[in-house]
């Protein structure tokens, strides 16, 4: 390990490793600086499980074709048009080859997991999950001769006129506190784990947010780049949030703290009042809106309430539901006002109209005469024990990033492309994903732009 490399990769997740491998395969000497300790390496890739790639025909693990056009339409729909079409279409085209390329780097696919049938055609799942994928990429990178340093926190970037010169380290690596490189690939994620930064937009409410992924995505590299003249992209005030169990740890609870039971009951706030149509839409959209809805409620807490007839309708949960033989008993355990909760449920039950329940479609079970209504899957809550999950906003990722070109090259605030700085992954996801999300897209952005960034960074270093 020296202090001068062709390509320096900052970050240690999917995008960073794809960049490192692709740069190394392009003939460059490569150092990866992962700010986390070895166990926590890989940022939020640890918590992922699949990737969305376009393909023209069914494969061994994908049940049917998913064309570039269909992928584009899905992206357009989830972002409401907040995307860079040129960049997005380029990514979608490149994603086709990623299906094979990533396997050549040691990653193995498997058919969609139990309970995710709706993704069986579009998304390829990693055998063993995101950490298994990372382990494979690290193994390949090390076999190729990529140097990797853990606990390698970067404190400053030396950038002159849009030209990266060196990175300064908190702790020396083999005696060096400054690493120089011909090209830089920044793949260090967003800032969702930086509560102080979130507070700039969300105020004190951010103290009640839970961070679903790594505590190491504090956005320090993103901030350095923006402070040093890189053009920003994406709404800084926005983040992707879902409702997760309020008993989850502050950081890194991962996918297992999620709740998908909203449609089977009602959701009330700390005043035991309903506040939104629980039957508005089908998975996965219904899953993605509840984080923001709960964030807007007092103390950022809410309770999914259902009865014993539906407990087997959704996946088993990490935390058991809180139970009461009566509504009042349940309210007591949740520290809600019993009379108000009883009134809310009685009114809801009275408003439920008969219908044929089917949670796989937008069915005809509706309420009448209450506000807000429940427009699908409305059934009476009347069979004890009564059950509840407390939920809080769980932040997945942020949208603010560095603007890039098709070559993953960063653009400076004056519109000029940087000579030698590239970005990949969540740190530039906002270029493609201005808002919203669809399963597996983060990994697509990471792998596609990681591979491109590594290739271009190596090309620059050769010239």
């Amino acid at each position: 390990m020296g202090s001068k490399y062709d390509v320096l990769v900052i970050g240690g997740g999917n995008a960073a490793l794809c960049a490192a491998i692709s740069a190394r395969r392009g003939g460059a000497s490569v150092l990866v600086l992962e700010g986390a300790p070895k166990f926590y390496r890989g940022g939020n890739t640890r918590h992922t499980r699949n990737m969305r790639c376009a393909h023209d025909a069914a494969t061994e693990i994908l049940t049917g074709p998913y064309t570039e056009e269909e992928f584009w339409e899905d992206l357009l729909r989830v972002t409401g048009g907040q995307t860079d079409e040129v960049l997005a279409r380029h990514m979608i085209r490149e994603s086709k080859d990623i299906l094979n390329w990533i396997v050549e780097q040691g990653v193995r696919w498997q058919p969609s997991l139990g309970g995710t049938l709706s993704l069986g055609r579009t998304n390829s799942f990693f055998l063993g999950g995101g950490r298994a994928m990372l382990n494979a990429l690290y193994l390949t990178a090390e076999q190729l001769g990529v140097d990797v340093a853990y606990d390698a926190e970067v404190t400053d970037l030396v950038i002159e006129d849009g030209m990266f010169l060196a990175a300064r380290l908190k702790r020396p690596i083999n005696g060096a506190t400054e690493i120089r490189a011909t090209s830089l690939v920044a793949a260090a994620g967003g800032f969702e784990a930086n509560i102080e930064w979130l507070k700039q937009y969300w105020g004190e409410a951010a103290d009640n947010f839970l961070i679903r992924g790594t505590p190491y995505n504090r956005g320090s590299i993103l901030k350095m780049l923006l402070d040093k003249g890189v053009q920003e992209v994406g709404d800084p005030t926005q983040c992707h949030a879902v409702a997760i169990d309020a008993r989850a740890p502050k950081f890194d609870g991962g996918i297992i703290t999620r709740h998908d039971s909203v449609v089977f009951g009602i959701v009330v706030n700390k005043h035991a009042q309903r506040f939104y149509d629980e039957g508005e839409d089908i998975w996965p959209k219904r899953y993605a809106i509840w984080g923001r809805l709960v964030a807007a409620q007092p103390d950022q807490i809410a309770y999914i309430i259902f009865d014993s007839t539906v407990v087997t309708s959704f996946m088993p949960t990490l935390f058991p539901p809180i139970a009461g033989q009566t509504i009042a008993e349940l309210a007591g355990k949740l520290a809600l006002d019993p009379a108000t909760l009883e009134k809310t449920i009685t009114e809801f039950n009275a408003a439920v109209r008969p219908g044929t329940f089917d949670h796989t479609i937008l069915d005809d079970c509706v309420t009448e005469g209450i506000t807000p209504p429940k427009t699908h899957w409305a059934r009476k809550i009347e069979t004890p024990p009564y059950l509840a999950y407390p939920v809080r906003p769980g932040i997945t990722f942020t949208y603010l990033g560095t603007r890039v070109t098709k070559e993953a090259r960063m653009l400076m605030a004056d519109g000029k492309p940087s000579a030698n700085m590239f970005a990949a992954g969540e740190i530039m996801a906002g270029n493609v994903l201005g808002k919203g999300y669809a399963a597996g897209m983060g990994m697509t952005i990471g792998s596609v732009f990681g591979r491109i960034a590594g290739r271009e960074a190596a090309k620059h270093a050769r010239n």
Partner: protein, 366 residues
């Protein structure tokens, strides 16, 4: 709550894993888990014995230690598995043999080998014991064939009885239908899965040993040991048929079937256990149940002793060393037989039963 601390922990982990399911493609444990929402003692013992301890789920898990969810499935199931052997042992009075199994196995082996040596010394004069014998019936100058056959048949039949009674208790405990019988298709599937160690493969890349680079070493050494054992068993069976049906007495020439089978098996039983022992010594401690070290090594050592003494008898059978070596070999085999139901040998029986159950569940679900 379950009867033991380790089953409580296994229950906690299966609840975590059942809400994640990333590992469902790695082996049989996780698909079997997904067929349940709650876990009885029997369910957990079933999953524990279904686990082949390849370690992939630990290396792949985003929640393994130092994460606060502290998910370590291989180690937890290894401890639960070891405890299940004692829980289902027949007769229950002997279940304590599992508590300090290494010591028990060593003592039984030593006593058994000593008994054969003393027996040979007491019943033969020195000339016979240390004489060189050759030709058909050479072994039986030291111990009459009928005595040998009677003693070993009795030991073997007892082992079979105890194993059948134990696995019956296990089978009844691991799930509905109560007293359900295994169907032929499921048994055939389980024979294939066990025969190729299908689930000792880390989902395809090999199993995890001393670091994060998976290999197929343990699978290879287990195959050598297991098929070596089967070949030796086949050698003995063929020899028994020769004796009673054809009237041909051991020792047989080197090219004859019992010797060929026994030699190949013996090589497996020497090389395999050595490889398994080395792999065990090097394996990452976080994947192992250190309390079962004695049991594991005791069993490996006994298999090695059986194979090594057998090979020595073969090589030196025409010299004066044959008598003492034959005593040692018979002592080792006798000890192996009578401790079968009370040592690591049972892992194969319970795991096979679990694989049959799993094949059944898959067929029912399909």
């Amino acid at each position: 709550m379950h009867g033991t601390r380790i089953l409580d922990e296994a229950d906690r982990l299966m609840t975590v894993c059942n809400s994640c399911r990333y590992c469902e493609g790695l082996c049989a444990v996780f698909p079997a888990m997904e067929m349940r929402r709650a876990f009885s003692d029997g369910d957990l013992n079933y999953l524990a014995n279904l686990c082949h301890s390849c370690g992939a789920c630990y290396v792949d898990c985003q929640f393994s230690p130092p994460h606060e969810f502290n998910v370590n499935v291989p180690k937890t199931l290894a401890i639960a598995r070891a405890e299940s052997y004692a829980a289902y042992a027949w007769p229950q009075a002997l279940s304590g043999a599992f508590a300090r199994n290494g010591l028990v196995i060593s003592l039984v082996s030593a006593l058994s080998m000593a008994a054969f040596i003393l027996g040979f010394v007491a019943l033969n004069d020195r000339g016979v014991l240390f004489g060189a014998h050759a030709g058909p019936g050479a072994f039986y100058k030291l111990m009459p064939h009928n005595a040998m056959a009677a003693l070993f048949s009795a030991a073997f039949l007892y082992a079979i009885l105890a194993l059948v009674m134990s696995v019956r208790a296990f089978w009844r405990d691991i799930g509905p239908p109560i007293g359900g019988r295994a169907d032929g298709g499921s048994i055939f599937q389980a024979i294939r899965d066990a025969g190729e160690l299908r689930y000792l493969h880390g989902g395809g890349v090999g199993c995890y040993n001393e670091d994060d680079k998976p290999t197929d070493r343990r699978k290879l050494f287990h195959h050598l040991t297991f098929y070596g054992f089967l070949l030796c068993f086949a050698a003995t069976s063929v020899a028994t048929l020769y004796h009673y049906l054809l009237g041909r007495e051991a020792p047989y020439p080197w090219w004859d079937l019992p010797v060929v089978l026994g030699t190949l098996g013996g090589i497996g039983l020497v090389v395999g256990p050595i490889g398994l022992f080395v792999a065990k010594s090097r394996r990452a401690p976080e994947l192992l149940d250190e309390n079962s070290y004695g049991m594991d090594v005791g069993f490996i050592a006994m298999l090695f002793l059986t194979g090594a003494t057998g090979m020595l008898v073969l090589i030196l059978r025409e010299t004066a060393a044959m008598g003492p070596l034959l005593a040692l070999h018979l002592g080792a085999v006798f000890a192996l037989f009578i401790t079968m139901p009370y040592g690591k040998f049972v892992h194969g029986i319970y795991r096979f039963a679990a694989l049959v159950r799993y094949a059944q569940e898959r067929r029912t679900a399909a």
